[in-house]
């Protein structure tokens, strides 16, 4: 009886996962298909990948996208961590609540609102649309997620731990660099990671603030997809899937290795 129910639930889960992955696999399969449509498989070819690598414009856009993602993630991690430290210091409940609400506005706002309001903002201050406006916008919408990743680690830190550090002679800077930062580093790392994915994932905000000269991958895919099917995009999604898979496997193994090292460390210490 119990076993029977189990298999039904597993079947359901498998179905959900199948639906989740089917479109992605579909894209990748057709990236190897000859011809120019996604209706029947016309035989294996790498021609679309060849086209992709020859497409100078696309290569530049990929580099731009990566550059924006890395730079914005780095800067937002820095600013967000400093912000989290400040919020953590704020003990007044009302002030803290207000700051957190302000912090979360960009988290919950729809992309179009962020995009439109940033567009008004940049235009009003006569900042020309392009690389810098995209970078600034990405930094702006990544900061709150970094804060939200770092803040819980900070509040996990018991107050007496800082007392202890000060008691043992640590200055403000030493408390920060030797106690706080090492302790919250998992949160900072997670924040950076989330910021990176937010940047790579974004379409709508970028679409509003990008102007004519500058483009990121998602904007480019949007304009090409509106023109119809081009298997070069399939090839691109194949590469991006492998990239994402690589990142996530890497992340998984780093975590595993960390745990492993910790255990080993503990074992050698026990001797």
């Amino acid at each position: 009886m119990k076993k029977h129910r189990f298999s039904w639930s597993h079947l359901y889960l498998v179905l959900v996962f199948a639906v989740l992955y089917a479109p992605i696999l579909f894209l990748i399969v057709y990236s190897f298909s000859q011809g120019n449509s996604m209706d029947h498989f016309h035989g294996f070819t790498l021609q679309h990948y060849q086209e992709l690598f020859d497409d100078r414009r696309m290569i530049v856009i990929v580099i731009n996208t990566m550059l924006i993602a890395l730079l914005s993630a780095l800067i937002s991690t820095l600013i967000g961590t400093l912000g989290a430290l400040q919020i953590d210091k704020t003990t007044n409940k009302l002030t803290r609540g207000t700051i957190l609400s302000l912090n979360n506005i960009l988290m919950v706002s729809p992309d179009v609102i962020i995009g439109a309001s940033f567009l008004i903002f940049f235009t009003r201050f006569h900042i020309g649309l392009g690389f810098w406006t995209v970078l600034l916008s990405h930094i702006a919408f990544e900061i709150p997620i970094v804060v939200l990743m770092v803040l819980p680690r900070l509040s996990e830190m018991s107050g007496t731990m800082l007392d202890a550090a000060e008691d043992l002679g640590a200055t403000n800077w030493q408390m920060l660099s030797r106690v706080i930062l090492p302790f919250i580093s998992p949160g900072i790392f997670a924040g950076f990671f989330m910021a990176l994915t937010y940047s790579l994932d974004d379409f709508a905000v970028t679409f509003f603030v990008t102007g004519n000269g500058f483009s990121t991958l998602s904007v480019e895919i949007y304009s090409r997809a509106r023109q119809g099917i081009s298997l070069e995009i399939n090839a691109l999604s194949g590469l991006m899937f492998i990239f994402a898979l690589g990142l996530i496997v890497g992340y998984y193994f780093i975590q595993q290795a960390n745990q492993h090292r910790l255990q080993k460390h503990q074992k050698s210490g026990a001797v």
Partner: protein, 273 residues
């Protein structure tokens, strides 16, 4: 702690960010909503919005479809999250849920253009079972399907976390007191995982109001969401005032949703008191 006032200078970039990229843009969009296309102050945008049937119809439609998307997403996600949380290698399954969110939303939308096309795989299947081919792309149902598809991981994650946080002893206690599986679920598990459901709804409903790229690529403009209208006004007709007015409506909708889904931990800051 008298000796430990960490330098407020460190925080300057963060306060600048709040000022320039949180407060200023919201203020600007509200301000802009009072100007017409010729940059003259006017209340006409709001008058137009509330008097023209088209805008109100569009708002109702937008909210209705967002509700549908949220409902279907929840319907599919809750059981999936529940089953996942009881699996042995659940961390791995969780990663598998997260992985599709790293594939750009436009690539996924693009895949459905292929799948739903006239000669696409979906229609081939319909032909096989004898009810196709049909027009699938550029219909309301295809929009619903793709939007639900895209939002599922964002619903599963918070629910999954809420279920994991649930101590098994509650379930055991409920069984111990004679509750059936269904009673245990309905009286213990569901209420205790409700916060996760609420944040899932928050994460799905608001973006669903503004998925303009899907309405264009998949919905074929059969559905005009608030997001589509804003994009149209800002980037095509260049009527920023009207676009901002719709934006303000969207912001208000968002605040209402926040109030409803945050009821158990109200933060004083987001409500004028």
């Amino acid at each position: 702690m008298p000796h430990r006032h960490t330098n407020w200078l460190y925080g300057i970039p963060y306060w600048l960010w709040i000022g320039l990229f949180v407060i200023a843009p919201v203020a600007l969009i509200i301000y802009q909503s009072f100007f017409n296309i010729d940059s003259h102050f006017t209340l006409n945008n709001y008058a137009t919005y509330f008097h023209s049937g088209t805008y109100l119809q569009m708002t109702v439609n937008s909210v209705w479809y967002a509700l549908l998307v949220t409902f279907f997403t929840l319907l599919i996600s809750y059981p999936a999250a529940y089953i996942m949380s009881h699996l042995k290698h659940r961390d791995l399954w969780l990663l598998l849920i997260i992985l599709p969110t790293w594939i750009n939303i436009l690539l996924k939308a693009y895949a459905f253009i292929g799948i739903f096309s006239q000669a696409g795989i979906a229609n081939q299947f319909l032909t096989l079972i004898g009810i196709g081919p049909r027009q699938l792309l550029f219909t309301k149902s295809s929009f619903l399907f793709v939007a639900t598809y895209i939002q599922i991981p964002f619903m599963i994650l918070p629910i999954y976390n809420a279920i994991l946080d649930l101590s098994p002893s509650y379930v055991n206690a409920s069984r111990d007191l004679g509750a059936t599986n269904w009673q245990t679920f309905w009286r213990v598990i569901w209420p205790l995982t409700l916060p996760g459901v609420k944040s899932g709804i928050q994460a799905v409903f608001i973006p669903s109001l503004s998925l303009f790229m899907l309405t264009r690529l998949i919905g074929g403009n059969k559905i005009i969401t608030l997001g589509t209208a804003i994009e149209e006004h800002f980037l095509t007709t260049m009527n920023w005032g009207m676009g901002s007015t719709i934006g303000v409506v969207l912001i208000i909708a968002m605040v209402i949703i926040m109030i409803f889904t945050n009821s158990d931990k109200p933060t004083k800051g987001d409500r004028p008191s």
